[in-house]
């Protein structure tokens, strides 16, 4: 009917997705370990109505053709793994990763998922778990009687018992890293799972070979920048309005011709 209608519709759909992404980022502005998403726009294919450079006659060529673009789409959302701000909480079981890497947690189905949220807790059996109760991997158990826990920058967990001078080594926290962290699939609950795009996890000791170091008593805040999200929200809203105006204008054209002829 009128190509502009469908082209602007793709604009509306894409801006709509962008707004969803922004609102999710804003909703998670204070989620520990959250990484913001970025919607990536791409122009759709162009339709060649008349080929530029085609022969008009034997001697002359068309200097320019007619290519009609077919709109836009959100091709992907990309997780931005920039460092969030570190907050001091002074809780012994809070750990923040300063640099690259993910903590590993064992999901109930036996697979490993990855997280930057270091709000660890102890469950009824003395094991270190994340806020959802999933076991930390490799598993670390805190025995009865331990009244103080330290976690070193390289991941060593020590327990101190009342009246005993030497600490008891409870285990080591290891980190996993990926070639392309943006390719990880977010599954909610601050967790990510490995995909073909992310590559295989590489295990490592915190603080060595490019892994980030662990900071006990700190948490990594969300890396959402409120101001940035607000500004994108304004541009998204205006772009949406303008695309809908184009639809209104195309609609008026069609209305005009059907009423006047």
């Amino acid at each position: 009917m009128h190509a502009a209608l469908y082209v602007s519709k793709t604009g509306l759909a894409a801006q709509d997705k962008q707004l969803t992404t922004i609102s999710n980022n804003l909703a998670n502005a204070s989620t520990v370990g959250f990484k913001r998403d970025r919607a990536i726009f791409e122009d759709l294919i162009y339709q060649n109505q008349r080929q530029p450079g085609a022969q008009e006659t034997q001697e002359t060529q068309l200097p320019s053709g007619l290519q009609l673009g077919t709109g836009t789409r959100v091709v992907a959302t990309q997780k931005e793994f920039s460092q969030g701000t570190l907050q001091v909480t002074d809780q012994p079981l809070d750990v923040a990763i300063n640099g690259r890497g993910f903590l590993q947690v064992l999901q109930p189905d036996g697979t490993i998922s990855y997280t930057r949220n270091g709000q660890l807790q102890i469950n009824g059996e003395g094991q270190l778990v994340n806020a959802d109760g999933y076991l930390l991997e490799p598993a670390i158990t805190v025995p009865q009687g331990v009244n103080k826990i330290t976690i070193s920058e390289s991941g060593t967990v020590n327990g101190y018992t009342q009246g005993v001078v030497d600490p008891q080594q409870l285990g080591d926290i290891t980190l996993a890293d990926f070639v392309n962290p943006s390719g990880l699939q977010a599954v909610g609950g601050n967790l990510y799972v490995e995909t073909l795009a992310s590559g295989n996890p590489v295990q490592g000791t915190p603080g060595e070979n490019g892994m980030g170091s662990l900071k006990q008593g700190m948490l990594e805040g969300s890396n959402v920048n409120i101001v940035e999200e607000m500004v994108s929200m304004i541009t998204t809203q205006r772009a949406y309005e303008m695309n809908s105006k184009v639809i209104a204008s195309a609609d008026q054209m069609l209305q005009y011709i059907s009423q006047n002829l």
Partner: protein, 247 residues
Amino acid sequence: MDKSLYIAMTGAKNNMLSQAIHANNMANVSTTGFRSDFEQARAMGVYYGEGYATRAYALTENPSSNFASGPMVQTGNDLDIAIQGDGFIAVRANDGTEGYTRAGNLEIDSAGTLRTANGLAVLGGDSPIVIPENEKIQIGADGTVSIVGLGQGPEAMTEVGRIKLVNPNTQNLTKSDDGLFRQRDGLNAEASAEVKLRSGFVENSNVNAIDEFTKIMALSRQYEMQVKMMKTADDNAVSSASLLRMS
């Protein structure tokens, strides 16, 4: 019937095509690195015999894209690059040919290949750039990609490739169906040392929403005038038919 009906019809039809081009610009108002397309109408005279030269049909075409720079948006990502001034990033298109883009929101895939956000490999010379595992990645102003390897200090920066940046004559560039720019003669452009990058920024679309919108409104009104002309041609035909009616 009066031929003016057909002439007014081509005017209205080409107004709609122009409208579609502006609608596409408007839809891409937030597409990274997008270059808006120009649209123009040309008179196609179809004259024959003697008499008044009145048969000039309208023809819409898009002669070129607007190569003006778009606004720079700071993102702080190491893999985001924006070109300052003229120039393009060379990428390998899905059909294996070389294409040029201004969209510099790059990423690395699981094999370490540097790609644009829509998955096209960024070229360094003739082949894609592969980046080994690293702690830190830096893209220099001339497109040089350097990394700090795993477990090494910042003094051990190593160069892993240089993004092919080109600066062809924009008169020679045309937008292909996949949205990438290519040279009209089909040849690949030479790498240019003059193109300057800025990392941590992306360049937004250069669509000027107000400009586009003004043109959309102007085209809308022009379209209404064409329809009025068609209506007039119709009215004329009706009155001549009634005058000549034998009753």
